[in-house]
């Protein structure tokens, strides 16, 4: 009976994510490839403010977030903002079709296996994680809401001002 209990407890612990990505914690590391085959390593973006966005072709609000993210990066790229949009589609062609409809001028990488969203403990689609220059998660945004856009940009500005 005791062994059974121990087994159950161990199984329950193993099922829970090891470290949930939350504000103030270091962002989980990832190395993912773009459609062109270039690798994007989050560790190499240290020193910049990184906006990590999880998206999928089947996610309707994602369609509205892309034009905004295009503008966002155009406005703040020179000051050190990097946008990395992580696609979680199982089929790459779905993602590419989405990108033909809604072009992205920021970095798009692909994680069909879903290891990165699991590491970030994504709670809904889309989800965004704002990472400061030290590689720590500064803010977590679930869903995309037009009325939240200004507040997020303000937060990005504040992080960019901090050297």
């Amino acid at each position: 009976m005791r062994e059974l209990l121990v087994t159950l407890v161990v199984a329950a612990l193993a099922a829970a994510p090891a470290v949930a990505a939350s504000v103030g914690e270091p962002a989980p590391a990832f190395v993912l490839a773009t459609a062109a085959g270039d690798t994007v390593d989050l560790a190499r973006l240290r020193g910049r403010v990184v906006y990590v966005d999880f998206w999928a072709s089947w996610c309707t609000p994602c369609k509205r977030s892309f034009p905004w993210m295009n503008e966002l990066e155009a406005r703040h790229r020179d000051r050190g903002l990097a946008i990395v949009a992580i696609n979680v589609d199982k089929r790459r062609e779905d993602a590419l079709r989405f990108l033909r409809d809604v072009p992205a001028r920021f970095t798009v990488v692909f994680d069909a296996e879903g290891r990165t969203p699991a590491a970030f403990d994504v709670k809904g689609m889309p989800s965004s994680y704002l990472i400061d220059r030290e590689g720590r998660i500064a803010a977590v945004e679930e869903g995309f809401h037009d009325e939240r856009a200004a507040a997020i940009e303000e937060r990005i500005r504040a992080l960019l001002d901090r050297k």
Partner: protein, 75 residues
């Protein structure tokens, strides 16, 4: 020798419970297939209208035949 019934029962419960433990509902980023239009109950608008029509004439009541919300977890 046969096992005592208690232990057998416990093993049975444990194996059934283990079955529950291995069921993982799809994660938010795994709902692409669930979000496909063909996964809707009313994927075909004509068939859906016909079904509603028959339902309403049989029941003598309108509405109440659907539930709100999708399955993609993105709203």
């Amino acid at each position: 020798m046969a096992f005592p019934v208690g232990i057998l029962a416990m093993l049975g419960v444990a194996s059934v419970a283990a079955g529950c433990a291995t069921f993982d509902p799809p994660k938010p980023w795994e709902k692409g297939d669930l979000a496909r239009p063909s996964m809707r109950f009313d994927a075909d608008p004509l068939a859906a209208r016909a079904t509603t029509h028959v339902y309403q004439s049989k029941e003598g009541a309108a509405g109440g035949g659907t539930v709100g919300g999708g399955g993609c977890g993105c709203n």
